[in-house]
Amino acid sequence: MNTSKVNIKDLKLWYGESEALHGIDIEFSEKRVTALIGPSGCGKSTLLRCLNRMNDRIPGCRIEGQILLDGDDIYAPEVDVVQLRTHVGMVFQKPNPFPKSIYENVAYAPRIHGLAGSGSDMDELVETALRRASIWKEVKDKLHTPGTALSGGQQQRLCIARTIAVQPNVILMDEPCSALDPIATAKIEELIDELKREFTIIMVTHSMQQAARISDQTAFFYMGDLIEFGETGTIFTQPEKQQTEDYITGRFG
């Protein structure tokens, strides 16, 4: 079951002159939830953004090493970033639906990638995506109202629906619940639990309780190094490294 989906080999990353990641080796398993934890600036978000090459947009950012998705190097020169991003979707910290209708939000990516025409095919695709993001019941009667009019939690689930509409393999989540209240957070966590049946999910979170609640594996980063990586249950009860222990018990700095 635990086949490796994303394999990172000796990944180093620089922003200009400063090295932000110092040689990361990690394997993310297929159809599991991996949580990346660590204090701010430890490189976890940077690593996450390497996985769909969002860092390409940052001037002066360069990497060394390999990131293999199903065995293929995603930084190979002939790789089309646009194609990559249909395989590796991303959900952001702040819910950021487009200021368009709910329908348009979900239909946008399939349309620009030519996955469905605009007729009933698209209607079906939109409905499926919304259903899988467990938001269909709440929005089915107002598909043509603006997505920005939804509540924060609903917006975030809409963003997840938008992401899974193109059937990615991997979903990256950058602190998806940090702007949400506990109930909305619980709904997202429940959704993540559902989604891991089909998708490999890698999420950055600042809430250790959240990592403990929903992840199968946890990786602890500190100062651009991967300190410890293992089963979540083990990391949160008997971590091997002192730094991990200090961080998750709140003894840091």
């Binding site: 009860t237 222990e245 200090d246 018990t249 709140g250």
Partner: protein, 233 residues
Amino acid sequence: MPQHTIKRFDEELDKLKELVLSMGGLVERAIGHAVKSMLDQDEALAKKTIERDKAINALEVQCDEMTRDILVRRQPAAGDLRFIMGIIKVVTDLERMGDLSAGIAEGTLRSLEHPPKEFSNLSTMGKKVQKQVNRTLNAFSRGDTELAMRVIEKDERIDVLYKRMYRELLTYMIEDPRDITASIILSNVAKNLERISDHATNISEMLIYIERGHDIRHVDHEAAAKLLSGEEI
């Protein structure tokens, strides 16, 4: 180990540990008094021991409240989590040990009407069990896993002592049926002591889990020793 960012959390953990240790102190004294009351056939001391068990029970409730508070407010993880889990078990063990001591004192009260002719090696066993409890508490207060390991190893000797005493009492009963009541009382007292030692062993095992994160409760001693010396990891 460095301090928690939330200093209050450290204070709470220290307080909890202190409370458990003071509970342990009461238990240790109760064992001593209970055994002494039997050996001296001292009714007053036995009654006092039974009365004092209430204090131990009260401390158990207090510890449980603190643990619950820490769980809900601090949501402890890793070492802290193991500590809290350990405390929950340790407190139960201590309370049981207190009850068993009270049981011994009750034995004393019953034996006043049927004074035993011979106490067999109750005195030795009492001292040894007390020593076990004392070691356990010391190990717990210092986080000394080696000492805890010794407690676990020495538990077997207590078992041997108990079995020997049991056989001896059996012989008395066969020799003279009039001694049966006294011997049964004594045998129960020895059984209580043996179980007190078992609880001390439990606490020591818990301590090793708290400190090292390995659960050695149901593995044999050699495997446990290997685990602790880090051969397997």
